[in-house]
Amino acid sequence: MNRLISIRGGRVVDPANGIDRLLDLHLVDGRIASLGAAPAGAGGAEEIDASGCLVMPGVVDLSVRTCEPGAEHKATIASELAAAARAGVTTICIPPDTRPILDTPAVVELIHARTEAAALARVVCLGALTRKLEGAVLAEMAALAHIGCVGVSNARAPIESTAVQRRAFEYAANFGLTVFIQAEDPWLAAEGAAHEGAVATRLGIPGIPETAETIALARDLLLIEQTGVRAHFGRLSTAQGVRLVTAARRRGLRVTSDVSLQHLELTEHDLEGYCVHRHLRPPLRSRADRDGLRRGVARGLIDAICSDHEPQDRDAKAAPFAASEPGASALETLLPLTLSLVREGVLPLGMAVAALTSRPAGILGLPVGHLGVGAPADVCVFDPAVEWVVSAASLVSNGKNSPFLGRTVSGAVRCTLLGGRVVYHS
């Protein structure tokens, strides 16, 4: 038997297996070996002290942009995987809007090679749904699936033609691929940069109405029903959107959804003073929307919480609000702020951890996100007692564009293990 790692004295939270109690966790050969008593015959144990900590599956993040390939001056796979390790995130999913667009196996191979070199997290890719994300010609989805893409997506480039959308869904369904959708109607969103409401009106920022999301969602749901494709709606931003997805699920459609932590935490009111780090897409919406999203996660209607991490450099944000690039550096605040919502009574712990681990893993079809015996030993040891201040200096990510700069955050990762190997230790 090979080397044993024992994580001792922590509160093990593993929603997929219904576990939430003080337990020792033992890893052998990169896999979960046992909970409680050490496996028989194991020797040479390395010990990790997890007293006072949560011991949970490594986080599975459904949307992380690393900026590589295409915008390496902002961030790289190596820099952002280091941030992921620090954040307790052991699996990330990259959307296809890289440069070049992720519509050929070559781009996937490049990402896999850089990931292996960094060896700090698992990386899976979404292939393009249409070539160059232009919404006109289907991408070679079978080839993309063959090289390892876990799904297909048109990222944030809406497909204007419903006919192309329909055929793309049919073709994805043909290969059993899940379509990942960020629903936004391009005409209603137009030149908008903030939620259409009293705040955007006062600040004079062109608005994006709620219907930009809900109309696109409703259209997509009807095409999903017609084509039978499995679909995942990412980054819901409206309470009405949650209701639409929930209703569709009730009538038997195979749809799942996620929300970014930023949309659970912030609202349009946080744009005061034209805070460019809170210029996000979809935009931060009303308090009622945020509360609807929170209820959606708490009740399990929204499957997953993601970071929607998108590093930007200074130049990208150094402009008046509407001209600044949207996006937030959010990997490292994902876990602490989600668990703060648990402490505040907004989310039940089991539901929150499931939304960060087992449920997104299920959406991606990966065998991670839980601590069952035999599973890959992707583990996060989180110390809720540590306080730190979000700042350019305290973030490992190359992107310093956190919407939470200056905020004191409770809780930090003590240790991250990837396949039984320590990839981060505070």
Binding site: E196, G197, A198, V199, A200, T201, R202, L203, G204, I205, P206, G207, P209, E272, G273, Y274, D315, A318, A319, P320, F321, A322, A323
Partner: protein, 320 residues
């Protein structure tokens, strides 16, 4: 803007958040400058030796020339830059332009830009000691216009409490409307109305303390002051309005409609006016119109704001 409210007046980025005392001081100071225009010698040495840059990223004639004149009457040196036509076209960023100008040791930037928040953005990046005055940022604020409108109203009505004011036209895209709403509410106007078709009234405008009217005749009923807004050419046809002609038929300020207001009501307009679109000539040139008077008052108000921001008049540092 908030920044102004919390600190001694350094920049003048917006009316929102300023106290009634601050606004009144601006109006009082402007009143003092109003007599200047009719004097033979129109200059005071308040800003002698100071360099003021008119930094306009959007075309403007009226606002830029009145700022220009106001600065010259305060004895400042003035540099007029139409940036739209120069460096930003070559890909130079807004910050690069700003830093280049700053290297010339200017004291104040008068900024107009097509994006909301641009003046605040520039103010956040200038060197300490450099003043920024917002001459219009996107749809956000045009605070000097609002102050000159208020000065005009005060000259005619002598007060703000108890007045009924209607702002008519394209509220959605208007920075003049937003600044005007903040200023008039702060100065004590309770019955403040915005009038226009649904396509030109932005969501949630009621939260600024106004009541919304979609029928012009009703919106003008019994008001003391009518503020017309300019309808931009690009709004006149498309999905917001079918045509300039239909807009005029439904929302044009005609003598018959103005007659619904109080007999002594005044009609303001920031200019330049579209005759036969938002206003009929008979109204624009009639006895109730203050349109030309506003231009002259605008110079005095801009003199007041520039001198207060440069600290040449004590007292504006309300929270210092």
């Amino acid at each position: 803007m908030r920044e102004v409210g919390r600190q001694p007046l350094r920049h003048f980025l917006g009316v929102e958040g300023l106290s009634r005392e601050t606004l009144t001081e601006i109006l009082d100071t402007a009143e003092g400058f109003m007599a200047f225009g009719s004097r033979a010698v129109k200059k005071v040495p308040l800003l002698r030796g100071r360099t003021i840059v008119n930094l306009f990223f959007e075309p403007s004639t009226r606002t830029r020339t009145t700022f220009d004149l106001a600065a010259k009457r305060l004895s400042a040196d003035v540099l007029n830059l139409n940036v739209e036509a120069s460096s930003t076209r070559k890909g130079e960023s807004l910050l690069d332009t700003l830093w280049t100008l700053q290297a010339m040791n200017c004291d104040m930037f008068i900024v107009r830009h097509g994006l909301s928040g641009a003046a605040a953005f520039i103010a956040a990046h200038v060197a300490p000691g450099v003043r920024v005055i917002n001459a219009g940022d996107g749809r956000h604020e045009h605070p000097t216009q609002a102050m000159l409108d208020c000065a005009t109203i005060r000259r005619h009505k002598g007060r703000f409490e108890g007045l009924s004011v209607a702002i008519v036209g394209d509220i959605a895209h208007s920075r003049v409307a937003r600044s005007g709403i903040h200023a008039l509410r702060t100065l004590g106007v309770e019955d403040l109305r915005v009038v226009g078709p649904k396509t030109l009234i932005p969501v949630g405008i009621e939260e600024l303390g106004v009541s919304v009217y979609h029928v012009l005749e009703r919106g003008l009923e019994g008001v003391d002051v009518i503020c017309g807004l300019r309808l931009q050419q690009e709004r006149m046809q498309g999905a917001l309005l079918p045509s300039a002609a239909e807009y005029y038929r439904c929302y044009g300020l005609t003598p018959e409609r103005v007659a619904r207001a109080k007999p002594d009501a005044i009609v303001l307009h920031p200019g330049p006016i579209n005759r036969g679109v938002e206003i009929e000539s008979q109204v624009a040139d009639g006895p109730q119109s203050t349109i030309l008077e506003q231009v002259n008052i605008g110079i005095a108000v801009r003199m007041a704001i520039m001198s207060l921001a440069m600290g040449s008049n004590a007292g504006l540092a309300e929270d210092a």
